[in-house]
Symmetry: D3
């Protein structure tokens, strides 16, 4: 019992004295940013939470870090990158709301003497509200009073090596924006949570062919009915592990370098 109480990599599974001890030793804190968003007929809606949380757990175990509770609601899904708000079940925050959440959580980490923070994002539309949340936090602290704080903001898909992309997409990579609910995310989910994937339910109605602009308020009809922007064919748990390995390795390397942890 006491083992669990001091062994977890999850910040919220520790009692407060153990949290204090780890931070005093320099543990970086990882904050996963996710969303609750349609990911096709063949996957659950928590993909953007599962993936960055798993990546954070693995890196945190390697570097002696802690994982803060994932933010499970993300910024407004857009048709060209996530299918958009018309899909039932997609639950979104306004940009200002998400930025405020990130600002507040980071401010309290700072207040508790955390000076090494890694925000790991799993939802494309979160990128800019996360940037803003970090900027607002620094405005509140006062940049000249930030006492050695370093915040890294990482989109896990950006850590995947070109070699891996080339292996997975021998016929060419459609680009991360079209990868919503497609091979990359499906493969990673197959590696991590196969119980939340049912490839038989995948429709082959993609890939989406978007016009190169946004249209409001009526979402364009270009999103494939399934919600899958590209294709899921060729997804596999093995490929998912390649992708996870890249993300974990890349973030571990960044963390060690930026925080001076050998």
């Amino acid at each position: 019992m006491s083992t669990a109480l001091t062994d977890s990599v999850h910040l919220a599974e520790l009692p407060w004295p153990e949290f204090a001890r780890r931070i005093a030793e320099g543990a970086p804190v990882f904050l996963p940013l996710g969303s609750t968003e349609q990911h096709g007929r063949h996957m659950a809606m928590n993909v953007d939470v599962v993936l960055p949380t798993a990546v954070c757990e693995r890196v945190a175990l390697k570097v002696g870090g802690l994982v803060a509770p994932a933010i499970a609601y993300g910024n407004r899904s857009q048709p060209r990158t996530g299918g958009g708000p018309a899909f039932p079940g997609t639950l979104n925050l306004a940009a200002a709301t998400l930025s405020a959440v990130i600002r507040d959580v980071l401010l309290d980490l700072f207040r508790h003497d955390v000076r090494r923070i890694v925000v790991v994002n799993g939802h494309y539309e979160n990128i800019w509200p996360a940037v803003e949340g970090i900027e607002l936090m620094l405005d509140a602290v006062g940049r000249e009073r930030s006492d050695g704080l370093v915040v890294l903001r990482i989109d896990h898909w950006d850590m995947v090596r070109p070699e891996t992309i080339a292996r997975i997409f021998p016929d060419g990579y459609p680009g991360i924006e079209l990868e919503h609910a497609s091979v990359i995310e499906t493969s990673m989910m197959l590696a991590l949570r196969p119980d939340l994937v049912d490839l038989r339910a995948a429709l082959h109605d993609g890939p989406a062919r978007f016009r190169p602009y946004d249209r409001y308020p009526v979402p364009p009809s270009e999103v494939p009915p399934s919600g899958v922007l590209s294709l899921t064919e060729g997804s596999s748990a093995e490929k998912g592990e390649w992708l996870l390995a890249d993300a974990v390795d890349g973030i571990e390397r960044a963390v060690r370098e930026e925080f001076g942890m050998q």
Copy 2:
């Protein structure tokens, strides 16, 4: 595999078409409100997430409902009710931030035709920001355009029957505010997640004797060093099940009555 994909009681573990199907059938949606907050030396900091989430799961299974992802960061901990912000690891949102999160999530549930919402709270300081979030959501929808929407806001401890309180506290109940990290929460955690409790680490430094007012900015020294406001003695998984049963039964009854589900 496909079983899991349509069987879960967790909204975010479903693919979007299954979410749509359940809502069309009238499934109520339960939103657990928690916090990441010190709960003594003997418990993890996610108590306020674990408890309402478990209660929501149990009720949702009984009434055919869905559980939305828990909000894992709560409103500012106060010394008299949660130990306060001085304890390492307590990560808080400003009131306006939490209200905005609740407003946004409820607005999107409404947009997806959910008309039966139950907000189940596990953190005392969340009460008023949750009220405000619901009010802001109704302001945004327009109260006269709310189309049959009913939102219930429930603090799980308020559903415990006086008989149960009398059984657990034969010598008198200290009141819910002093119950932070004490017998009620410890017992419920023992029932649900014994791996996150270590009774040997509990200090017997309480109960807190608070002055009947708040003092800022220096938190009063009245909070026992452990962070436990009352005492943990007598906590047991059995009592935890009594408390859970009351919360589940009470909320189930409220849901059936208010939503007209026989």
Copy 3:
């Protein structure tokens, strides 16, 4: 004439040099928080302003303090604690608005070198927006730059001694939440402003029997039609003076102790 101009206990009745002189001598400033809210058919709607203002005046006279203008509009009335917004005449502020008012007033007091502030609240629903307003003020000042500032936040009913409650409610106390417009408030108003009470108009339609949760947007029909949550029978000016004496004594004691004023 000049007597009045320097003798008043009300901050706003002084010319500015006298304000400056008193603050330089260490005068604490009391800020009453009220509301404009239905208080039954038998009382005016300014009860929550009259009571804390009177308490502040009495304490300020004893300790050489000043009373700032009362905030006459409070946070949203809720059915279970104030009858709710459906009663005509109840005029409410959103939580963020009230918090901003309190933040701004406290910031300006601080700017004018006030370091001893006592916020005395008379409206249940104000508690959490007042906490937030104080926290926001401290965020703006910078907690590490707050220069000895101490803010006390007191709900006047919490200063009433158990002995007094026992004397007033020999058959058991219904709890402060149900006391809206009932014996405690009616008695205090009889002591302070009998012209604003007409006991003949009191309906005997209570006490309210609330379900143990909130329901939105339709307010529950559980509020007695009169708006009185408990009963007014047995109210008297004499009891009102007992209650006032407790509040005044309790706050005076807190002020002397916390601010080191013998």
Copy 4:
């Protein structure tokens, strides 16, 4: 006793059923906007509350209206129009805060079926936040759904007739902006609250000679040390009554015409 309870012109001194009755009969509601601000060495700091409140009371008595509680904290005092924030005791709200208060109060009046609202302002710097508050309220209601609502926004000094100005200032009128704490306000206070004026304490250090622009953050040294922008000589209660009569007559006329009350 019952007389007072239904006879008051002050909204908050009525029980809720009487408020409802008056509104149903078409009573306009007057909202006085004030400030807590230095007004020279010879006057209290509540001048901007006393004057519009008295004007509202008088008009409301004539037209069967109600006076809502005055807003006692105003928008940031500026050197050229109120002496500025450097004077001890001046307690200000940020513009957004004041606008939010006005928005919220007007929204609740509207919710209670009030369709005739008169905002009577006594503090120069409140003009634009009051305009904004009204605009925000209309934005929230929806201008096309405002159901006959009319809001008048009146600065009481703008109702003074040129003849009266000529009588009071036979040597020429310095303009309302320089009238802060000077003859107009001093005379009106002498008529209404002579106990809050001590002409012997008036310094003759004015009038202010302002540069025709604002300078921040250091307030210009052009404000006379007393805080009186013009001169107080010649102030009298008689002149105060002339001014009050003009304000009352002018507002009464506007109310009758705009609301179609003969």
Copy 5:
């Protein structure tokens, strides 16, 4: 080519190293505040941008300053001062939005070591949101950490000398508020951008006779149909140059005096 790149008085027409060089030498930065607002049938809607921008250019050339990009959208037009929002083409910002823009731009100027800022306003309704924007900027910087910063806020019409007014209005000046789209603005536009004036299109339907108060939401019918509040007769480019000369001279003098530039 390189001449233009380092010679412009417009901040945004410089490459960044030249901006840095000028600021290091003490160049004041001028920020013109305008609006997009009806200005009668005879003038374009950018009058409030053209005028302060031209004034800023002329002063900046004389004192070695830089002109930041004008803010082309202003605060809500009001009937009594700008014709109001009912005129097609008037595009407004809420007060809080405009204040936030000014706050942010000034904060970034401060961050880049600018300590001499002159905000030159061309739209009456911008006055108070500009004041608030400056105050919010100072709140964010911290008034005690503002490091010698001086911000001047100037309405260009306030720099016109009484002698000039007397020359232009031999029969009496209607006051700046009625001057919207009238002789002053028309003359200045004739001097600066005669291509944006067509005097033949001017209607002679003024002057406006406003009631001395505001009315919402229905704008009063007192605004002349043309949108011209006073009259345009007698406007000329020559008079425009007189007015420009006064504004430029007055601001130059203020800048040299306040910033200690001989």
Copy 6:
């Protein structure tokens, strides 16, 4: 004179009746979004304003549209896409500020019966605040009451055809994010405003080699000292015209198709 007054493609250069006439005829309104941001040693800081404004002018002339005043201050520059805030002269708005500006301008266009709006963006970091501003505008209008409104949001560089990219970058395209102040922007500026480009001042210190994540608060040293993220070699006015032609053609086509204008 009168020619100019009714012929301009710029909304703000028209008198209000001409604006009304054009909108009644179905003229789409184009809103250019820019920034004031470093663009290398060889270009002015208004590149992001000049480019989308020119594109808007050209398209508006072809389709009978109007160009609203450009928003000259953009969202916070980030190191990986614009060099970041450390470069002198980069003047940024917080995301919420920019979103509010866009929301307000679009709301007023809608109020004036504009139902065809095209937001043309020239600054990478504006993308998401622009999306949010449009969403907030639709929230305020009410999506179900938007009366046929269509808003297109276009990044001008996304309209460039692959063929053109291939012609300009025969050795491969570095991607739009690295194109800040590089060949694309430099060529377009050479075509439009050669007076604001000095190729002799271009440093050849790029291209930037960014780590694939963001780091705060200290901006990474990876930005080339010049601020040019890629290279400027090979820039020419001719290439600029190719790029402009693509943007203009692409937007024209989108406008005609989406708004049903043949």
